[in-house]
Amino acid sequence: MTRGLYAALAVVVIGLALYPMEATGYGIRFMLQLFMWIALAQSWNLISGLTGYVSFGHVAFFGMGAYTAGILIAKLGWPWLVASLAGGIMAMVLALVIGWPCLRLKGPYFAISMLGLNEVLRVAVSYYEGLTGGGNGLSLPTLYASVQIYYVMGLLALGVTALAYVIITSRFGLRLMTIREDEVAAEAMGIDTFRYKVYAFLLSAVAPGIAGGLAARDQGYIEPISVFPLITTITMIVMALFGGQGTIWGPVLGAVALFTLQELVWARFPYIHPLLFGAIIVAVVLMMPRGILGVLQQKYNLPRTI
């Protein structure tokens, strides 16, 4: 990245760091959620954008983090920051458990197996009612920590984007991309595609896990429908696709664009969100498969590692 861009980024980061001092409660929550979506979309990008293995059940990691943190906070009195980090770790464990069998499958079959994941987790939550509160949900002791969560979420978004940068500009990232380009050839060229897929999958689960924990703390209450909704996965996917999957800034762009539109324009019509997102997905796949950033890359001959 050029000097100028670094400077611009620094300005933005400083601005965001100072924002809470002058912001309204609404403003803080808006930015907090935006950071969360950036982290989520970017994480989805790490597995699906780079390796081409579409994860339809990614919200599972978010929910896992939410319930882990929620239980630790509500039942064991852990501080929310540590609990959220634990949420991230548990999400990684879940990714290992699911990924180990499922990533051996070829792309489309992996996608199918991820489709059913949501259902299984919801079942698990109701089964372990004693621990999770089942359908009645889990309440956390009240605490107003939006500003602190704002900062942590912001760091999370920054962290995942930095992770994306490191991966995409490295040979590790190149190898992940060969899986997307031609998995058979990649294997034949000595790349242990299974191992790389697992690494990418694990890395893609951490941030959603932590974000889930933070969101749980912020809401103060979790129930299955709120932390495992399909719409969360859909939104992650649309954002990454729209901005440009497989790139560094694509998911950020997509998250900013779509979340802003959602809050300012579509918030009045929440009941057509899925329809809108579905339409956007179809449009992106048909007309700009590499997202907005892809279009810009083509037009202005930008490097691939954008």
Binding site: V54, P101, L105, G116, E119, L275, I281
Partner: protein, 283 residues
């Protein structure tokens, strides 16, 4: 007890087989994983519901409406959207049909609301010796069998059916033999949608109808295809019956909640052990 469970499983299995055959057709012919298959089934169910609600039409007669209607919708979907991603990486068609599926479900929510609907048409059971089977299940199974057999006869004996099978095996060779592959794609998608619609109409008499009802059938159809062998059309039949059996047996030993997870775990297990399916299939 066991006998009852087995026959129940077979009854349900026939329905699974019919719907899964549709999904298998699309995958076999176009290599497209149609995530929207379940929502199409849902539309079939709603068609039957509304016809029953407004016109008092016998739900089983409504098959004559839902099947052609969804056939046309399927063709339209294929023509406008799916055809553009048939040659793209499988990832694209997956995302596309995913987008379509969420759009369809949402449209249904907007048009029909999420209120649970049901068709009160056939209640009670047929009693046969020590066994009792709900009437609607038996009749649904009967129709499913008839429709599935008709589909197989179609695939086996008619020119169009043979062309479809040819394209499933090798698109290039079929083209060289003069088959209009685009048309085959349209037909395959249409037929598949009609099969899904039939499933929806039959199921509408038995379960609560709501916009998200199709999702689980998409998943189970995939499972059937995998059990029976990808690209192996008769295999879908066995796969469906097998799934029906396994589910009913599982319900004997496990609580209903875990039941839903059974299908999922089964899928992962089978895919790991025999990725091309239990019976002969292609990768």
């Amino acid at each position: 007890m066991i006998g009852q469970v087995i026959i129940s499983g077979l009854l349900a299995g026939a329905l699974y087989a019919m719907v899964a055959l549709g999904l298998g057709l699309i995958f076999g012919v176009m290599r497209v994983l149609n995530v929207a298959h379940g929502p199409i089934m849902m539309l079939g169910a709603y068609t039957s519901f509304w016809l029953f609600h407004w016109l008092g039409l016998n739900p089983y007669l409504s098959l004559l409406v839902s099947m052609p209607a969804l056939f046309l919708i399927g063709v339209a979907l294929q023509r406008t959207l799916v055809s553009r991603v048939v040659d793209a990486p499988e990832l694209s068609s997956l995302l596309l049909t995913f987008g379509v599926s969420i759009a369809l479900v949402n449209l249904a929510q907007l048009a029909f609301t999420s209120d649970l609907r049901s068709i009160e048409y056939l209640t009670g059971s047929f009693v046969l010796g020590p066994f009792a089977f709900s009437k609607s299940r038996v009749i649904a199974c009967g129709f499913a069998i008839v429709i599935t057999v008709a589909a197989f006869l179609f695939l086996k004996s008619t020119r169009l059916g043979k062309a479809i099978r040819a394209v499933s095996q090798s698109r290039e060779v079929a083209q060289v033999c003069g088959v209009n592959v685009q048309r085959i794609h349209l037909f395959a998608f249409g037929i598949a949608s009609a099969l899904a619609a039939a499933g929806g109409s039959l199921v509408a008499v038995m379960v609560a109808i709501q916009p998200e009802m199709g999702q689980v059938y998409t998943f189970k159809s995939f499972l059937v295809i995998v059990l029976g062998g990808v690209g192996n059309y008769p295999g879908a039949l066995l796969g469906g019956l097998l799934l029906g059996l396994i589910e009913q047996l599982a319900s004997l030993f496990l609580t209903t909640q875990i039941n839903e997870a059974v299908a999922y775990i089964l899928l992962v297990l089978v895919l790991l052990v025999r990725p091309t399916g239990l019976l002969k299939g292609r990768t």
